[in-house]
Amino acid sequence: MSNRFSRIVWLLIACSVLFAPGLAAACSVCTTGKEDDTRIAFELMTAFMTVIPFVLVGGAFWWLRGRLRAVEDSHVRARELAEAGGSSSHVEAPQSH
């Protein structure tokens, strides 16, 4: 290989690395060049897995709080009815969930 030809080949390789890093690093069996995507996915999924338990448990507590309030309201209504001398002294707790 002549010295001049060798220089051209090296120049082309350097250009491919500089201007098309994806192509230069392309490989059918590895994921070189995808590190950024993977890093972003790891960060997003870490945030997702951190938030999800709070959302689920918070949602359950919010729902239970609503149920507790509904039961308390029904008891207050029953007490008011009893004090007003109504025949019914007990109101069924709400069944809705």
């Binding site: 995808k34 993977t38 999924m45 997702f48 999800i52 338990p53 039961v71 008891h75 029953a78 707790a93």
Partner: protein
């Protein structure tokens, strides 16, 4: 689950039931299963982000349109169950049977249609070991199908007890929470797994 009695004078001192035990147990189960599916989605997203080509070469395309129709059927089953829910809490148990049977029928159609799709995909070369797509597809969709079958069983048992006239709020609540969970998770899985 109970709370200390704050009820009417004649019941004070006793413990009032806040929610039926069966329903509370099912809510805890569904919370745990929610985390399980969140973990699967997270693993899938990280694997997908590292793939150079998606879907992997020589793998069939997932049936997006047919599954969209199947998703619609599943959502319709939730609408029927919601109608049964309203009738139950109005005390109109006679009006519950039809929507519950329709909900069961839609759910059964969804599971059977998924099975048919799986057979097609296996014939086209998408298997558990053919690619990362195949592994995650059968794991995620398969776990959802397993939950769907379990929820259908519970819903079927609730329907059977409704016909016998001894359906309790605890059983009905547990069955509907489980089914709503199955219906709620599916669109997320569809977006994550199919629409890629």
């Amino acid at each position: 689950m109970t709370v200390p009695g704050a009820g009417p004078p004649e019941t004070r001192g006793e413990r009032d039931q806040l929610i039926p035990n069966g329903l509370f147990g099912m809510v805890l189960f569904v919370l745990a299963e929610g985390m399980f599916f969140a973990g699967l989605i997270s693993a899938f997203e990280i694997m997908h982000s590292g793939a150079m080509v998606w879907p992997p070469p020589n793998q069939p395309r997932l049936p997006i349109e047919a599954t969209a129709f199947n998703t619609l059927v599943l959502l319709v089953s939730a609408v029927f169950l919601q109608r049964a829910h309203k009738s139950f809490h109005r005390g109109e148990r006679g009006k519950m049977l039809r929507p519950m049977i329709l909900s069961l029928a839609c759910g059964a159609f969804f599971v059977l249609f998924q099975g048919y799709e799986w057979v097609q995909l296996i014939n086209e070369g998408l298997t558990l070991s053919s690619s990362a797509l195949g592994s995650f597809f059968y794991l995620m969709v398969g776990m959802h199908a397993l939950h769907a079958v379990g929820a259908l069983g519970l819903l079927g048992y609730a329907t059977y007890r409704l016909r016998g006239g001894w359906l309790t709020p605890s059983l009905f609540g547990a069955a509907e929470v489980f089914w709503f969970f199955v219906v709620g998770v599916w669109p997320v899985l569809y977006l994550v797994v199919y629409l890629r």
